[in-house]
């Protein structure tokens, strides 16, 4: 087993044993489902909307060369700068160099999973920059020194009391667990950072080729402040976020809100088309868009799983996933948690090291059903399993399935095996509860059924004999 696979088992042991936390996550996601079902039903046809959204993303993802260039052309015509980053290191270096050259001191960020993906904060802080996350959930996670738990709801696992205690400890605030007061404490702490910051870093929900714009959708208004107040705005966006037309957002923004949070639309939807233009009274003096590949083109080359690039990071697949609900976001050990993370992480970070995530699924398909852009998520998990085996077989599995094949190819052998099964079970109590039990992972928590002394095969044969 690789380290990440072993760690995953350990974390899953711990998190599944924490029933109060599991119950809290279940309850929060239960509320999400109620809200989402209601919003979804406001669509004339959610299923047709999914088809249309998938078609838009298909067009963008399958013509990246065309649409990204179109975006660059339109965006640079208004004075914006575009940097094409093949990997995380290039993106980090570009942003670090920019900060150095412009003598930046303080940086404020709005939510960007791409920055988590390339560990941008670590790199900036190591270089001496003061970086503050301005999304409330991200701000809390930053104070806690923890990665986001869920890529849409970063601190959904925390109780109000825990957040209150964290604020007391880190911000010196009064003891409280009132959501309103907690929000005000965070707001007071953040306001000054917006004013001090000389660089704002954001992600981007969509790149609109037609108009050369970045679309950012949010609920707190923090992205607006973080991108409008500082002199420099850097948007770090994955290349797969491109859509052809502005009108596409008329469908995608409500779908993202519906699938993501059960809202009809998020509270703030902004389009960013470049730095401050002559005659405008606000906006940054400089605007850089870093287009991040970082193995996305590797996924693009996989015709079977290319549709995973349709992902709009709504988090719906996490919200409905029984695995996520029981093990939580941190157990995955990835930037992108849940089913979609289990699909794409092996492509981004190596199949052999991350194949266990594709194995840790009952393949129930709730993710695929929930996906607003129709990514065939759970079947991609099966394909990852197949690809991992094709690359490298596990010795005991190779023997197990070779034996299974030989048995199942021979009806007489199979029938003998099921006739012998009850006999084998007679001896099971001798090892039950010990490490010698071959099915201990099952019997530790569940009873195992008794094999029939007369299998159906034999019943049918006897019955046929009698009837003749």
């Amino acid at each position: 087993m690789t380290t990440s696979a072993t760690q995953f088992q350990i974390d899953a042991d711990r998190t599944t044993a924490d029933e109060p936390r599991r119950a809290a996550v279940r309850s929060a996601l239960g509320n999400y489902k109620v809200a989402r079902d209601k919003t979804e039903s406001a669509f004339a046809s959610w299923q047709h909307a999914r088809d249309a959204a998938a078609a838009i993303k298909y067009e963008g993802v399958n013509h990246l060369d065309h649409y990204l260039k179109e975006f660059e052309e339109k965006f640079t015509a208004r004075g914006g700068k575009v940097f094409w980053a093949s990997n995380g290191a290039q993106a980090r270096d570009y942003i670090l160099n920019l900060a150095r050259e412009r003598r930046v001191k303080s940086i404020v960020k709005s939510k960007a999973m791409t920055s988590e993906e390339i560990h941008l904060n670590d790199a900036l802080e190591k270089d001496g920059y003061h970086v503050v996350e301005s999304d409330l959930g991200e701000f809390i996670q930053q104070l806690k020194g923890e990665a986001p738990y869920h890529f849409v709801f970063p601190c959904m696992h925390l109780k109000r009391e825990e957040i209150g205690a964290l604020f007391q400890r880190k911000l010196g605030s009064e003891k409280t667990d009132s959501p309103e007061e907690l929000t005000m404490i965070a707001r007071r702490a953040l306001r000054q950072h917006y004013l001090n910051a000389d660089m704002g870093i954001s992600g981007g929900n969509f790149i609109v080729a037609e108009t050369g714009m970045i679309s950012i959708t949010e609920n707190e208004g923090n992205a607006r402040l973080a991108t409008a107040l500082p002199k420099i705005h850097v948007a770090l966006v994955g290349i797969e976020k491109v859509v052809p037309r502005l009108a596409d957002l008329a469908l995608l923004l409500p779908m993202l809100a519906t699938a993501g949070t059960g809202q009809q639309l998020t509270c703030y939807n902004s389009m960013y088309g470049g730095p401050r233009q002559p005659g405008e009274i606000d906006g940054p003096e400089e605007f850089h868009v870093v287009l991040l590949d970082n193995h996305r083109t590797r996924l693009l080359a996989d015709a079977e799983q290319r549709d995973a690039l349709h992902c709009i990071r709504c988090g719906a697949c996490l919200n409905v996933c029984p695995i996520f609900k029981n093990i939580g976001g941190h157990s995955y050990g990835t930037t992108y948690q849940g089913p979609i993370g289990s699909v794409i992480t092996p492509h981004f970070r190596g199949l052999q090291d991350w194949k266990h995530l594709s194995g840790a699924s009952s393949l129930c398909g709730a993710c695929t059903e929930a996906c607003p852009v129709k990514i065939d998520i759970h079947h991609h998990l099966l394909q990852n399993r197949r690809n991992a085996v094709a690359e490298k077989k596990v010795w005991w599995e190779r023997w197990l399935w070779a034996g299974f094949r030989e048995l199942m190819k021979r009806p007489w052998a199979y029938q003998m095996a099921i006739r012998l099964a009850p006999l084998g079970q007679v001896f099971h109590p001798l090892v039950l509860g010990t490490s010698l039990d071959p099915v201990e992972p099952w019997t530790k928590t569940r009873d195992f059924p008794e094999a029939a002394t007369k299998p159906f095969h034999d019943w049918w044969r006897d019955r046929k004999g009698v009837r003749k």
Binding site: G365, R405, K454
Partner: protein
């Protein structure tokens, strides 16, 4: 109609009553039941584990066993989905592709066969008890079977059908997943079974015995009161 039965290996060995019930129900409805004795396993365990070559060899056998069948009725939604959907992937671009497609087209899950193909909702069953139905994920999401088993249950005299909160949630079985990640699988079973217990029923019924193995396995060990799991056919056969 000549109905050919596909009885998955674990039903053959662990739950033969399910298969016997299906035979009885179909014969009562006046159909001729055929059971090809050369059948073994559909190949799903190695398929789900990524060992597609091994799965293909086993699957190829099944394709030949059911070649002459007019219609194939599967006692399990999951193994039925293997025939109906996953063989198409397994044999994509291979010599047996056409045969896999033919098998897929004539395969039905048991409840779907009764309701959709035969147009039968009332099989004349009587069963006294309070029942909740568990949707097996493969039946529900790969085959799209949701209404059929409920329509059949509603027509059973004496039976009270109660929907549980987590009807569509996975029970956590998932084949090898249940033993490779037993802690996650058990946590999922716990959520599912608590929902069954909360529904206040005496029976949990499903069209997939593999889910029931997980659910019954957990309930027997942890439920404060006795709740029995039954395959849909075991309910429909009672008069």
């Amino acid at each position: 109609m000549r109905v050919t039965l596909f009885i998955p290996c674990f039903i053959d060995s662990l739950y033969p009553k399910v298969a016997m019930s299906i035979v009885q129900i179909l014969e009562r409805l006046g159909h001729e039941v055929i059971y090809p004795e050369g059948q073994t396993c559909c190949g799903q365990p190695p398929f789900n584990s990524g060992y597609w070559d091994e799965a293909r060899d086993v699957a190829a056998r099944q394709i030949s066993v059911f070649r002459d069948a007019e219609v194939v009725v599967s006692a399990s939604g999951s193994c039925g989905a293997m025939f109906k959907k996953f063989y198409l992937e397994l044999f994509h671009g291979r010599p047996q592709e056409a045969e896999a497609k033919a098998l897929s087209a004539k395969t039905y899950e048991f409840s779907e066969f009764l309701v959709e193909k035969l147009g039968v909702k009332d099989v004349g069953a009587r069963f006294d008890g309070k029942v909740t139905f568990h949707d097996g994920c493969h039946g529900l999401r790969e085959l799209g079977t949701k209404a059929a088993p409920r329509e059949l249950l509603r027509a059973v005299k004496g039976l009270e059908l109660v929907e549980m909160g987590e009807a569509e949630s996975c029970c956590g079985f998932g084949g090898m997943f249940a033993v490779k990640y037993p802690q996650i699988s058990t946590a999922m079973a716990e959520v599912k079974c608590n929902s069954i217990i909360d529904a206040g029923v005496e029976y949990v019924v499903s069209n997939d015995s593999s889910c029931l193995m997980q659910i019954q396995g957990y309930l027997s060990r942890h439920s404060p009161r006795v709740i029995k799991s039954l395959h849909l056919a075991e309910v429909l056969v009672q008069q």
